[in-house]
Amino acid sequence: MNHPPLAPSIASQLAGVFDLAWPETLLVLVACVLFLGATFRSNRHFWGGIALAALVLAGGLLWSTVQQRPVRPPDGVLPLSFDAFAVFIKVVALVGGVVLVLFSWDEVSDALAAEYYACLLIIIAGLMLTGAANDLVVLFLALELISIPTYVILYLQRTDRAAQEAAVKYFLLSVFSTAILLFGFSYLYGLSGTTNLVSMVDALTHTAETDAGRLPLLPVLALVALVMVVAGLGFKITAVPFHFYAPDVYEGTSLTSAALLAFVPKVAGFVSFFRLLDFILPQRGPTPGLALGAQATILFWILATMTMTVGNILALLQDNLKRLLAYSSVAHAGYMLIGLAVAPKLAGQDVVGGVEAILFYLVSYGAMTIGAFAVLAYLSTPEHPVDTVDDLAGISRSHPGIALLMALFLFSLIGMPMTAGFLGKFFLFFGALAVPVDQARLFYGLVLIGALNAAVGAWYYLRIIAAMYLRTPIRPIEKPRAWPNLVALWICASLTLGLGIYPQPLVKATRTAVGGTANQVSQREGENVLPAVAAND
């Protein structure tokens, strides 16, 4: 196996790494201050303001880093990369963080605000690091940086029996999935002899040439690694059959935590997939090496089909809004998995590829799902939580504006045109149908299943819209206006609508993000992969 030349200059080379992680470092430091400060002062406005300031400052730091350092593809040495993809994920994480802070503003109590925001900041830092990770260990740590504060948050806001059950369930299953993921990582390390992702992919794609005769079991080991990694990350993206916790946990926790759970782990899971599964891209070089393009495609095909079908059908049966949104998030993970199944087949093609489609979908999904949770939070009071579909009956009469926003989010979740959700699905389907003809039949089936699922999904979202608009109020909802929540709502709504009508900026950003990895492929292999960005200019 070819080890990258590390030994002599390891210290000097690693010296620059911290420069790449200033925003994350800042967030974690502020989180520490918040943890300490919580003992002195309990005021949610104060701590919320600090968290918001920290996120904005981190954004500023990120911006200045982008100005100073050229964005370049990950190399075989540094554990962190600073490519366009990483920057994209960092920006998504920061914007998501701002929305979540605003959303939680009036939802957390004064006493727990500091701890809550500290955990939130660490989670955002973890998400940003996941996007930048170029090393198995860093990736693992980044994912843990997301998971561990999540356990705390789940337990922080509610302490009743349901919340305890939710927290324990999430904790145990999460730890279990982490172990599986780590098991898969160990196989990857064993196969390649390195933890650096770029070197790992290099090693894996060149192994079989020399060692295929000697070590016929290597592909099997690679397959074990693949399955383990998919199982471990499948928990984070709530892929069936790793989704069981979602409805119970969402139901048992607060609306803010549910929104957090619906968004952050999903982004983290898919980002880890992109970073890790570079090794399955079969079109990479003349020899496939240990690339598992064919097997991975089948695996994701099955996973996508199961996930969207089970998610949608179970969502049909729900009356509780949180459970409904939980199953809906499962279903949307299924749609996004279509992109993952397609991605290996589309490498090097310059239409909308699977990965771009997933990135677009992740952003729009985040906006509409957090938005939907924020609407529920806006309408809920401690005495009268909005729990079931019936609680939303007739909202359009008492809160016309809020009902309109909720309808926008729900129509976007259905995938109606002029919302971000439509374009997300459009790009996914477009990518799946663009697969070269010789492998296409498999994907025609997948896309057809996706389309039928979207139609099934329309039914339960439509039920909520029908309750809001077509029914008379059952009980009046009186609540003072929560401005930060409204701001969060408006950010989500403008993203949902704006991306639906003028998606060009985000499409361009996703293409740049993925184009970065395409370029790095071409540099590594010395072959000319068609750069999507160049065609765009």
Binding site: D350, V351, V352, F411, I414, G415, M416, P417, M418, F422, L423, F426, F429, F430, L433, A434, Y444, V447, L448, A451, L452, A454, A455, A458, W459, L462, R463, I465, A466, Y469, L470, R471, Y502, P503, Q504, V507, R511, A532, A535, N536
Partner: protein, 605 residues
């Protein structure tokens, strides 16, 4: 930008602006809201009339007589330019505009709208019926008035957009967006079963249109080559023609159509698709199936029609008028604009037998159902199933007469069924019942309404001299010609169409006789208007109904200008189909050369 282009843009944008204004006006300002709605609808009407007048004066070029694709006029943002990757120079885009919505690198989704012979009269129809829809709702809608008019105007934008769009994604966006306003119109202001009706309507249509989306994406991707990716409908139609003419392999790849028996055998597992790749994998076949799934629900063709009676009966009058008058045409228009030009070979091989059969069954079944109804609105709703069957029968005769008849029938059915729903709505407004058995001899009580009803029924039945006759006669010619002359079979389909016309007279006149003639039987008036005496049509109602009736008469007496405007583009479609016919003959010869040779020998003793 010159005036007509601005007007085309105005047709889409103005109702949307009106909708926003109305929504912002608040629920209290009812009068203002109504007047804004009426004003917007009237301005749209004027714009569409002016556009139609200008469109009729466009000189036809000789090139038009050979075109194998559509050529929209009055395109805002035209001419577009693009960088030709082969030459490296900017070129004028014949089939596009400079208004790009989403750039995907090699190609772009554009805001490509315009007018041609296929859509100009449908746009006018939409504008006319929108005015009537606003007027008829004036006093009926008293709750949430501003929301009602906002959704109504949004619906108008969506309908205009569907007809005007020349970009395939833009078309789909408007196509699916039209569901949202109608869902609310039916669901909020509808009858007692409104929630069920709205939900059923939405789910049926969205399921079909999602499958149609797959077909649209497939055709775009199938036409993608090298550096070109286009979403423009005219360009796609042109590309399909070029591809099919390119080489024999390419032709087989596009046009291969499995026979029904083969599909069943593959489905049963008796035949592996790999064994007959040249007969199985045709792009057009799958595109046709996918697009048909979306449009057949909308038309609706017979097994997929069950949402329609429910939605029609429950919808408020304005909703019924627009649903029957315009939105049902969207399905037929989709077949005409997309399905047939993009998949001509499959339309011939599969669509012709399949859709004609479904249409023929629909004509008879709809008419019989119609006769059995006791609810006037339901009667009119089922008559739409029957009449739209007629329309599809004409379109899928796939010859010049049939296509012209189909398109005329779309417009005529829009006018006469729109008018029928308006009159039924006016009757309901007075007595709050729609049961035929509650009424009797109403023309003595409401002479004007009765007279109008007789007139509208006559147009719907197809009395010569009124509009219905033109379309239906052309459809029967076309269908007869196709089956008897071209295919040399017994003309079953034309027979079903003729039977449909007779049955149409039967159920409509039966209804007229029971409701308006005979012994006077006035229903007991319940509801909040009971203190007012029942009066005949007021000026507002006359304004809503009279223009439609005048149009019916004008089209019936002098249809030539209209037929002249639609002819060039219909000829384009029929030319495309004729090319496909030639290919079909060629395929048949290749597959069974021996039989044909033997046949020829028999013919020449």
């Amino acid at each position: 930008m010159d005036l007509p282009r601005l007007e085309v843009l105005g047709l889409i944008v103005l109702p949307l602006i009106g909708a926003v204004l109305v929504a912002a006006a608040g629920a209290r300002r009812r009068e203002e809201v109504r007047w804004i709605g009426l004003g917007t609808a009237l301005v749209s009407l004027v714009l569409s009339m002016h556009l139609a007048a200008q469109f009729m004066h466009i000189e036809r070029t000789p090139a038009d007589a050979k075109r194998l694709t559509f050529q929209p006029h009055f395109v805002p943002g035209s001419p577009g330019t693009f960088r030709d990757p082969g030459v490296g120079l900017d070129r004028t885009d014949q089939h596009g505009t400079s208004w790009t919505l989403l750039d995907l690198g090699q190609g772009a989704v554009q805001f490509y709208v315009g007018l041609d012979g296929l859509n100009i009269w449908l746009v006018v129809l939409t504008a006319v019926l929108s005015v009537s829809a606003v007027l008829i709702s004036w006093n009926v809608i008293e709750e949430r008035v501003n929301e009602f008019y906002a959704w109504l105007l949004a619906l108008q934008t969506a309908m205009m957009g569907i007809f005007l769009a020349f970009d395939i994604v833009l078309f789909y966006v408007f196509f699916e967006f039209s569901l949202v306003p109608l869902f609310f119109l039916i669901g909020i202001w509808g009858g007692p079963e409104r929630r069920h009706a709205a939900g059923k309507f939405f789910i049926y249509t969205i399921a079909g249109s999602l499958i149609a989306l797959l077909g649209l994406i497939s055709i775009v991707l199938a036409c993608k080559s090298g550096n070109e990716l286009t979403f423009s409908i005219p360009r796609l139609v042109e590309l399909v023609q070029q591809r099919v003419a390119f080489s024999a392999e390419e032709r087989a790849y596009w046009t291969a159509v499995p026979s029904f028996g083969e599909i069943v055998r593959v489905w049963l597992g008796r035949l592996r698709p790999e064994e007959a790749p040249e007969r199985w994998g045709g792009v057009m076949f799958w595109v046709f199936i996918a697009l048909s799934a979306g449009f057949a629900v909308k038309v609706p063709l017979i097994p997929l029609h069950t949402w329609l009676p429910l939605a029609h009966v429950e919808a408020p009058t304005a909703g019924s008028v627009l649903l029957a008058g315009v939105l049902l045409k969207v399905g037929a228009y989709g077949f005409l604009r997309l399905c047939v030009p993009l998949a001509p070979d499959a339309s011939l091989a599969v669509g012709l037998p399949l859709i004609n059969m479904l249409a023929a069954i629909g004509i008879i079944y709809g008419a019989l159902c119609s006769y059995a109804q006791d609810d006037i609105k339901k009667l009119v709703a089922y008559s739409s199933v029957s009449h739209l069957g007629m329309c599809m029968l004409g379109l899928f005769a796939l010859n010049a007469a049939g296509l012209a008849g189909g398109l005329m029938q779309m417009i005529n059915h829009g006018l006469s069924t729109g008018a029928l729903f308006l009159l039924v709505g006016m009757l309901y407004e007075r007595y709050h019942t729609r049961k035929i058995s509650d009424y009797g001899g109403m023309s003595t009580r409401l002479p004007l309404l009765g007279a109008f009803m007789v007139f509208v029924c006559l147009t719907s039945v197809g009395l010569p001299g009124l509009n219905g006759f033109i379309g239906e006669a052309l459809i029967l010619f076309g269908s007869f010609e196709q089956q008897y002359v071209t295919s040399q079979q017994f003309p079953w389909f034309a027979l079903a169409g003729a039977a449909g016309m007779v049955l149409g007279a039967w159920y409509l006149f039966t209804m007229l006789q029971r409701v308006f003639f005979g012994e006077l039987k006035e229903p007991v008036v319940v509801g909040h208007h009971s203190h007012e005496p029942i009066r005949d049509l007021n000026p507002r109602e006359l304004c809503a109904i009279v223009p439609i009736m005048v149009l019916c008469l004008v089209i019936g007496v002098y249809p030539q200008p209209m037929l002249d405007t639609i002819r060039p583009d219909l000829e384009t479609v029929s030319r495309i189909v004729d090319k496909a016919r030639e290919r079909e003959v060629e395929r048949a010869q290749r597959q069974a050369p021996v039989d044909l040779a033997a046949k020829r020998q028999e013919e020449q003793p």
